[in-house]
Every structure is written in structure tokens, then in C-alpha cells.
Symmetry: D2
Subunit: 344 residues, 4 copies
């Protein structure tokens, strides 16, 4: 019996072998905990350079939900909420972690996962003009993800516009980079790490979905953006005792361009699959250039493919078709893709 091909998600394997190798080499060294070790410091320094943000404050957390919850709680005052697309990860798949810290997610309609500067401006303007605004939740920051949950990308111009709206309103812009390697490696992308550091007040560089066992690097490009963030992280239960396990992973990812290479592999493999799907007449639900592909399948296509390939269910359409997700990662091989193309 043949195993099914597995394209269900981009966090099904362990870590890039170079990371495991570094963990092995350093395993018996004794270091301070909580990120006060030389590997974490080296990783921070490399990320500062990659971001061209020499004063950036950088923290390594374990996962995306905890990172979002801690950063958002840190950036907001108790009476403020966070603007996000209705499809944003914090709006949907984090079990109310933001609300658990007392903050409302103020959802706006997005387009293919993206928030527009216009929509954010309109929301802030409506609030500012509302005579009853003191009875409502004040929008206190903006959350976006790059790439989005739908695999789409903000262009540099779009990010500039969002950043400009936020700065004029005096509220921070925060970018969730759970799959940032895929964005950075994407030919369509024109927003570099230094761009993000320049335009955002906080963002995180995702490790879990980009080659690490786990780990997300929170970057505050400017000093003192959040005093006492360390304690906030601890209070949120998000402080890793053996901080170096995250530090070593990011040190490795930011050595010799490994982070980008991880993204590049995912992008290359996704491009092959996307082309094959189009060549074979499959319909795509939306035009997303990164490592997530969203075929829109008829019932027959779905039945046939599901037998051979693990994919993620995405949504049912009223016309009976189904959107599924195929995801590639740093670990997807050409053989995996060949076999997938065969069964398409």
C-alpha cells in the first residue's frame, strides 16, 4: 500500500538539518536561560543587520498565537482594540487569545486576506468623527500578515500606505510574518526586511513554518517601543526557559541566507505545482504567489484528489465546489512535486 502524498501544511516536518546539526554541536554547553546566551545574542545581531535596524529589540518566542497575543497586549492600552482583516489569523484561528487579554479584534473586510490603507483610514476616521466614540473600543493598532492567510502579498506601496495611515493616526502597525520566508523569497515581493523594519512598529519573523522546530523572532525596530516586554512575555507564559534553543535556530537561519533558502524552496515547489494545476485545467480560487495554493475543486476532482493527496480543507462554495489548500515548505522535494503532478 502506498502512502498518501502529504501537502496538508507547511509545518509537518522537523527542522532544517543545519539547525539540528547546530543543536547537536552545542547541546552540552551550559548557558544562561531566557535568551541571555551568546547564541540568542548572535541571532539578534544577525537579524538587526538583515533588517538594517541596528537598534532593534528582538525577542524569541515559541509560536504564532502567543506571539500575537503578547505583542498586541503590549502595544495596546486596556481600552483599545486591534484592527485586523476578518480573515486575519487573530480574528479566526487563535481561539480568542487576543480577547483573553481583554482586547477586541476590530475586524474590517479585506480582499484576498489583505487590509487596504483606505479601509483602515475609513475606520480610524469614522472613530474620530463618532460623537459616541468614548462608548466604543478605540482602535489602537493595525495587524496585518505577510504573506496573508490566503498566501497573498502586500506590495511595498501598500505597506507604505498602511504605515503612513498608522503614523498619521499615531498608532502602531504590526506585521505577522509566520510565513515571512515565503514572502521574502517570492519573485512578486518587493518589500524587504529593511522595508518592514522601516514601516512597521513591530513584526515577527516566523520560524515554525520556515525551517525551525519552533520559534518566532519578534522585532521592534525602534528602541523602547515596548518597555518591559520581557515581563509581558513571561506573564503571557511565552518565555522559553532554554532560550538558546530558539536563539540557535535563528542564528542558523540567519547564517548564509538559510532563512531565504527555506523560503525559496517552498516558493519554487509551489510554482511548479501552480503551473501544473493550470496546465491541467484546474481552477484556482485566488491568485496567491507564495507557498500556499488554493485550488477550487469540483466534487469529482475533490474525491479523486483526496484519495491520493492530503490537503487542507478551506471552504465550501455555494456552487458545490470546494476550496482546498496545498502547501509547500523548506522540506518539499522535487520528488514530492513530481508525484503530486502525476496524480493531478
Amino acid at each position: 500500500m502506498q502512502t498518501k502524498l502529504n501537502f496538508a501544511s507547511d509545518y509537518m516536518e522537523g527542522a532544517h538539518p543545519q539547525i539540528l546539526q547546530r543543536l547537536l554541536e552545542t547541546n552540552l554547553e551550559k548557558t544562561a536561560g531566557y535568551g541571555f546566551d551568546k547564541y540568542s545574542e548572535a541571532a539578534r545581531e544577525k537579524i538587526r543587520k538583515a533588517c538594517e535596524a541596528p537598534e532593534a529589540e528582538i525577542f524569541f518566542l515559541v509560536g504564532g498565537t502567543q506571539t500575537n497575543a503578547a505583542v498586541i497586549d503590549a502595544l495596546l492600552r486596556s481600552y483599545q482594540g486591534v484592527i485586523a482583516a476578518g480573515t486575519g489569523h487573530i480574528s479566526t484561528h487563535e481561539s480568542g487569545a487576543v480577547e483573553h487579554s481583554g482586547h477586541k479584534v476590530l475586524t474590517l473586510p479585506g480582499e484576498n486576506g489583505k487590509l487596504s490603507a483606505e479601509a483602515v483610514y475609513a475606520c480610524l476616521d469614522t472613530y474620530a468623527r463618532d460623537e459616541n466614540r468614548d462608548h466604543t473600543v478605540m482602535p489602537g493598532m493595525v495587524y496585518i500578515s505577510q504573506p496573508t492567510e490566503y498566501g497573498t502579498l502586500y506590495s511595498l506601496a501598500e505597506l507604505e500606505a498602511l504605515s503612513s495611515v498608522c503614523r498619521k493616526a499615531g498608532i502602531p502597525l504590526y506585521l505577522d510574518g509566520a510565513r515571512l520566508a515565503s514572502a521574502l523569497a517570492c519573485p512578486e515581493n518587493d518589500a524587504s526586511l529593511p522595508d518592514l523594519a522601516r514601516l512597521c512598529d513591530a513584526f515577527y519573523i516566523g520560524g515554525t513554518k520556515c525551517g525551525a522546530l519552533f520559534g518566532e523572532a519578534v522585532v521592534f525596530p525602534r528602541k523602547n517601543t515596548v518597555p518591559h516586554f520581557f515581563t509581558i512575555v513571561k506573564q503571557h507564559g511565552a518565555l522559553l526557559a532554554k532560550g538558546r534553543i530558539a536563539g540557535i535556530q535563528f542564528d542558523t537561519l540567519f547564517t548564509d541566507g538559510l532563512y531565504l533558502k527555506c523560503g525559496q524552496n517552498a516558493i519554487d515547489k509551489a510554482a511548479r505545482i501552480r503551473k501544473a494545476l493550470r496546465d491541467k485545467g484546474y481552477e484556482l480560487a485566488l491568485d496567491a504567489p507564495t507557498n500556499q495554493i488554493f485550488p477550487l475543486l469540483t466534487a469529482a476532482q475533490l474525491a479523486a484528489l483526496s484519495e491520493r493527496v492530503e490537503m487542507s480543507f478551506w471552504e465550501n462554495r455555494p456552487d458545490g465546489k470546494t476550496v482546498v489548500r496545498i502547501a509547500t515548505s523548506w522540506a518539499t522535494t522535487d520528488e514530492d512535486v513530481d508525484r503530486l503532478i502525476e496524480v493531478l
Copy 2:
């Protein structure tokens, strides 16, 4: 130049080499996330057997603070608080993570880190007799740690008494086993894993301080103790995407008695150090049999030792003496101990 000896804590190294080996061997396998993989299931099954609790529900979280916060929030109703010793980890070194979820820590004086059944009974009885109790925080559970933050152990009889008080009051008993391997391997210990499973409503088997890179295994010995704990974990930002990384570690720790071996090494090394300290006339601040040793040093002793050995500061005494902590771990070698004894 010689490096200082380092006995500052029990989480300074990576993981037991067998764990890294297993992570390497399984690295490229594709598995489901969030603990729905075969390694996590195998680990759960082994822990159920070790606990003689065939129906136990088991979850793998990343660290102690998040585990305590999630379990306590799960076991309490919104208006309840958790009874703990004033020296309990949740009372002191978790940055208010329990309060962040809305619950008060109801601290009672302990003795050498331990809560007595009598003190808990008196607290519950005072509450029950208080005519104004509806204006106060209802004690809704009891938190203890084994070994305690002071390295001391609850005897089986003490645990039986605590459990009995809790059951009569209808509130759960929760045990923080961050260093449980040290307790289990300790000759003075008479409370086994099956005893804990029988007497507690929830407890966790610590990985971070007992041989793993990270990870704590929450055990609910009885089914349905906490419906929807998975979602609570997610809401607390404590759900690991690549759940198998924790699962593989616990699967390894519970294969061929590795967990106990990790504890045994820490205990053996601590026993050698404790004996050497006594032989050389050092005073100990308290009589703790596990892997933490608390010498009470004069200023001169402190100055001399600090030059050669990294230890943890514990507390200043009014008489000018200082309590420090020396900790051993699964990774402490006989050579480490020899060198320490030389400089004592």
C-alpha cells in the same frame, strides 16, 4: 583562563542526547500538527502506563508558567482563586500569569516550600464559615509543587492528607512537577507516579528541567476533568504547532526509564555535593533532599565561592549571611562535581 564552574540552574544544557538522536531520526517525516501525531500518542500511552492511569488525558505544553496558567484557568471558575504556598512558583516568579487570566493566588504560609493539609483545611474552613464569603475570592483549587521550589518533598502521607482535604471540599488538587524526575529518583521519596495520578486531579511531568529541550506533560488522570482543554491551551498561546517535537521528547523520556535516569543523575550528583559541603563545615539553609542545595554562606564564603562557581542568589539573611542555590541536572558529570568539591 579557566571558565567558572556552573551550577546556577538545572536548565543550562540542551537535551539528553537520546532525545536529540530521536529528533534527528524522525526529522523529515511528515506528521499532523498539534499533538495528533503517532509519537505524541505513543508518549501519552507510555505515560498512562507509568501512571497506571489508563484513561488519563495528556497534553504536551512548552513551559512551566504557561502550563500553570492554562491548567489553573481551566480548573477554576471566573470567581475562584488558587491556594498556594507564598513561596510557590505561581506566587512569585511567573510575573502574574495567573492573575493575567483573572484569578487571585490565595497564598498561605508554607514550611520549607510545603503547604500542609491543616493549613489548607483551615483556609477552606475559614472561607466556609465566613459570613462575608460571597464578597471574597472563593478558594477553588490547591496548587503544590513536587519537589517544591526549595527542593523539599511531600511525603505520600502528606499528599494523601492534602488530597483528602481537597476531595472533601470538592476542589481539585494540582501538582507542579517541573522537577518531578528529581522527586521520583530521590531515595527519600515515597510518592510514585501512580500515587500522584490517584491523589491529584491534574499534575504535570516536567521536561524542561529533566532532560528535554523543553516541554511539560500535563496529566489529567480522570477523563473529562477539563472539557475543551485543547482550546484553552490554544487560547493561552500554549499550543505547539509541531506538537511531535514535544511528543518525541516525552516518548524518549518514557522509554527504558530515561526520565528516572535523568532524575537519578541529578540526585546522585547533588548527594555528593551535599555531603562534601557538610564535611567541609558549610551550613545548609534547609534540609532538601533533591537536586537543589541551599548553602547558607558567610560573606567571606560567598566572596570566595562566587569567584569560582556560578550559583543562584537565593536570599539575604538579616545576620549578613546569604543563601545561594547550587543545582544539578541530568547533565552534571562526576568531573563537574569533583571540580566543585575541590574549590569548596
Copy 3:
């Protein structure tokens, strides 16, 4: 100079004179606090009778936002959210009080302020079928208001349908009756207090907007719906020390049908105004039969009316028209209405 007519809201006056009279008569009596006085008990008994719910547990709180926050927090588990119309008071004008207690408001589109049983069913069904539901917020109750924030009414059949959907799903239905007197007195209404007690798991009978200085009577028609609600109220800062001040007000409101009379006056006056508006060719934004009237004004009409009458701004329409709100109350007089009609 003539004062402007004031129809801005239904809580601009003090209390019905009979209430003040009773406060005067009882002023120097000494009673127990926190609702344990004979007036509060008498009020509870009268409400039980009016609701035909002899076992109902009843609590008097001060205002609507605190009542909603306390009841919702009491009915939900930490990981659950509350379903509400996007226009629901808790979704918009309570400054995030529900989120402050850690719960997400799960908004559904409503129609003229109303949630349909179909929409609730679809939401619950989508959740139940969602393979990723454990990563989302579980819908744990339904919030509706009667009349709604748009002055519209749920019919008895609609309430039966909502209740049926909730009961099948095993989640409570909660009704916000801030303006319940207006609903009960409305000729279009066919849902009585006993109906609400039968169909809802919790609701509140509004006092603030229906003749009292302040006060909302929370009714749990069935015993033990929420154990320790008293403490939850206290924890929410919503427990009134001199509980009898609320108790006396509700005792008076539920004596000789005063509560209904208060609603009747608001309804009668609103009916006269509505008729006059229609007669004079004004357009109404929606067809709402209770004490709130929503004229849709041209810029010219708005300018003219605003000079003579205080109204509440409601919303701007893309076509340049403006929706305003005219509200009547127990205190609105025929002279007030005559003068308003003159200036229309």
C-alpha cells in the same frame, strides 16, 4: 429665548414620581445591604409572579453594560464567545466590556437589529462542522435585545425559534431588556414576560430607560443557572451596597402595573410622533414600533429640525441623507409631543 425640545434619549429625566415617593418614605429605615432587604425581596417576588416563574433567581444591578458583562461572563466558560448581531449593544457601544472579561463577541449580520434563528443555527452548524473548531472561539450563548437597538421587536414565533435552536445546541439564550417596558406595552408585541421566562435562560428587565433612576433586574428563570452569581456581580464591581435603592424602585415599578404604564406612555407618544412624521411626508429609515423613531432626513430637513429639537445622530447615508433618532419615555408629555409636531 426658547429652550430646544429634547427628544435625544429616553434617560434624560430622573425617576417616575412614585419611585421617588417610595424612596422618601423608606429613607430612614435601616436595612441590610446588597439586596438582602425586604424591599428587594418583595420586588423579586413580584417579578417572579409577573414572569410566572416561581423559582426565578433575580438580582438588581445598576446599569446595562455592567449587567451584560456580568451575565455573559457568568454564562460562558473562558474559551467561549457570545453570538450577537453586529448592531447589538455589546458589539458596539460598551467599550469592549465583554472582551474585558476575556470573551469574544461573535457578530452575525442582523436585519434591523434582529438576529434570526436561521443565522444562529448556521453559525452553530458551521462551528460544529469545522474540523478546525478547536482552534476557534466556541459559540457559548446567544445575546439578543428586546426591543433591539433599532427599536424593532422579536415576535413570539421568532423568540421560540431562537430558543429552540439554542436548546438543541445546549447553549443559553440571553435577552437584554434595557427598554423592555416599551416592548411589553407595544401593540405589535406578542411576547409576554412569562414567554421570556420560558424561552430565555437569562434576561434583564431594564429600569434605567423605563422609569427608574437606575437599575436592571436580572432574571434567571430557572434555579442554579449560575451558581455564585452574587460573587460574580461583586467581582465585576456591579454590586450595589445599598441594594434596597434598586429593590424599592423595582418593587414600585412592579406594583399596580407601573412598569407597563411607563412603557405605555413612551409607546403612545411615539405613535403620535410617528403618525405626524408620516403625515407630514417624512421618510422613516426603518419600521420600528417601539419608543425609538428613526427619521431619514434630507440635509435641509436636518438643518431645520436640529435648530428646534435635540435628537440623536444615528448614521449618514451615502445619498447625503441622515438618520436621526427621536426617543420618547415614561416622562414624555402630550405638550412635548404637541410642540414637536408643530415644528415638524
Copy 4:
């Protein structure tokens, strides 16, 4: 049958008759809600004058617990806690309302209900010197009550010392004045309202226990101490719709010295009772000069007195004696006191 005398608390009656009179006179006026009415503004202006704090920002809330919870949440950042005496109201009888907002109450031992500047300094200093402080809750403000829950008073010198410690540490000092009228009217008191305004960053002037139906006036002596406090109040469910009902009460209390007169009556009556107790050989548990008296009764005395007088139980002593509380108020009459003295 004779009714028992009732000295159980100081909030057993309604309001001072002048307050009810004013509520009657203004009852049918239409005013804006939420404190934006002329009576609330007049009350604020009178309080500013009484406090010699022309820029003070003043808000009227309903009760003490909600006031403490809202002010403390407003003054703290998410990772901070509030220092209070272990006997402080927020530490004991508010059902965890402070923790409900996510903040730990950092209790220090007090003496007769009072926190010393030395104890606060030591706590702040210990925190500042603690190498692990980033793993603990940061002390972010100090809470005291005047008079304390034990009826004792801070002297001006003690308040100066506390204020000085707080200002050096850069944290706010907040004073709970639930019974402030009793302090201000007490011959032993040397701290005036202007002193409080000068020394505190926030305090509240209690109405509920000092002549009002309900209501507490929060005073921030300096502008912009808490931006958006209005919204925080709303979010806490503590915003009164008919704000003028509180405003009128405080306007009346601060007209012609009524607030002080209310306190004076309570103090005078308490002095008579205290003298009679001493004359008749009763022991007092502590020397408290305000409107609360704490006799330490033998079992026989308790049994005898309890039959004739309603008092509050305070605490059992190990020697079998019992502390009870006798409270006087603005409404206690000489006849009440005569009858009490008779039965002593």
C-alpha cells in the same frame, strides 16, 4: 416585641434628606447623560474648590469596588500590580475585582490597617534589587484607604512620607476614601482635602457611606493623569447613564459643608459610644478614632449584646474573645446612641 438596635454598618439608610430633596426638585428636568449635565459639572467645580485643585479631573462612579477596579486598572500597565495592606479592601472583600482586570494585589503587612512608608520603600527597594525582578510582578502603584478598614487614620506626616516614597519611585499613590467624611470630620485628623489632592495621584471621595444613596467621586488632582478614563469606566461597566443622579448628590454634599456634617455626626456619635464602652469596662481591639468601633468581647458579652444589638462580626481571637464592629453614620441619632448605651 422590640426591634434590635442596628449598628451593623454605615450604609443601612437611604440618603441625607437634602439629597432626596434635590433629586425631587430636579426630577423632571431633561439633561444629558453620562455626567455631561450641569449638576455634575457644578459638583465637580465645588470639589475642585474644596480640594484647591483647579485642574482636577473628576468622575462620579457608583460604588467602591468598581471605583477601585477601574482606577487601579487605569493607573497600571498590564504587567504591574498594586501594593496594598493585607487588610486593604481590595485585598479581601472585593471578590478579586482587581485580579479580574489582570492585576495582582501585592500585599504587605500593615499595622492596624495602615501601610507604612518604610514598608512600601522596602518592597520597592527589594524589587529594584531583585535580579529576577523581570520574572515577577512589578509594583506599579500604592493603594491606601483613609480611614482604613480598621477605622484608623493616616497622619499628614505619614501621607507625606508615603507620597514621597511613591514620587521618588515614579509610581502613583491612590487613596480609597470610602469613608472619607469620617476622616475629615475627626478631631485627630490633620490631612485635609487639599493635602490629599497635593499628595495623591488619585483618590476618591466616598458618597455611599457618607450620606448619598450611592456614588463615589474619583479625583485626579492633575490633568491627564489617565487619558480616556471615561472609556475605561465604561469598559468596566461603571458608567452611570443618568450621571446627574450622582452629580446632584455630590453637588448637594459639597454645598454648605454637608459632606463634613455627615462625617461629623458619625464621629460625634462614635465618640459617645466609645466613651461609654470604656466607662463600662469594655475592651477595644484597637484604638480607632473614626466612625467604626471595634469592641473585643468575651463570649458572655457577645452573647448578651448580640441579643439586643446588630453588630458586624469582625474576627475570632485565639483566646476565645471576639472582635465585633459597631458603626455610626450621618443618620445615627442621639436616641440610637442612648438606647445602645443603655444595653451595654
